[in-house]
Symmetry: C3
Subunit: 109 residues, 3 copies
């Protein structure tokens, strides 16, 4: 048995928990902030058998990897609206920090 | 030393933390949601000596085991109130998912 | 690799996370309450190499140790304001409860 702690961005959390549920993984969400990733993250606890750890890691990698995204920039305040041409910029989003912890024993009551 | 992580239903949390305190266990509550149990759960961290793990598990089992409860059903909206006879139904409540983790070292400052 | 779980008082959290960041430690904050310390605490997860555990413990000890603080007492309601001389009293603040957990594997995606 292992306990996987995965810190992921809020925006990836729903897609990840859906994918984990489809893979028959059980998860608990802890509200968390800051640090390993930029503000707005969630820590998922995923308990699974040793043989299922790699499958969980694949799902996390597929749904949360750091990637680039084009976003429309905010218009400059007080700028000359006529001459301002907004140009999409590239930002890094996503990312996951994952700890796999040994479990000594596991119970369900 | 062990760290017990127990995911329990919100409705059982106060009774459990009271019982753990009476047993001289120290707990910290993490706010959590979903997954291992239905929505509305709490994750308790309980640090204790190896010899006290079984006692903590007994307290969790006694206060949080899954059980059946009779609840009054919601009256159907727009139903014929005269002919409607509410009948209590049985639902599953409670339950606990518990991980016992090894602790390499422990400090209090 | 180790995962340090530190339960600290809210009032010490910002100073601690700043000090950890300056020491190049990455942290994630979990919102928590009660138990190991008086109400109003935060649980920090700090992932680090085995060789860096002692440095993290030093930073936690330096920023969160239990200590005495003089505070102005609340004036008694309805007391005789003329004869009441408020006298600062000493209270215990701070404190940290720290678990160092073994990590089986660690990933960043
Ligand atoms: Ni195992
Ligand atoms: Ni031990
Ligand atoms: Ni290691």
């Amino acid at each position: 048995m292992k306990l996987i702690l995965a810190v992921v961005q809020d925006k990836d959390t729903n897609r990840l928990t859906d994918a984990l549920r489809e893979g028959n993984y059980k998860t608990t969400k802890l509200s968390s902030t800051g640090g390993f990733l930029k503000e707005g993250n969630t820590t998922l606890m995923i308990g699974c058998e040793d043989k299922d750890v790699d499958g969980a890691l694949d799902i996390i990698r597929n749904n949360c990897s750091q990637r680039e995204q084009m976003v429309a920039p905010i218009s400059p305040m007080g700028g000359n609206a006529d001459s301002y041409i907004p140009r999409p910029i590239e930002v890094e989003v996503g990312g996951a920090t994952v700890f796999v912890l040994p479990v000594e024993s596991f119970f369900q009551f």
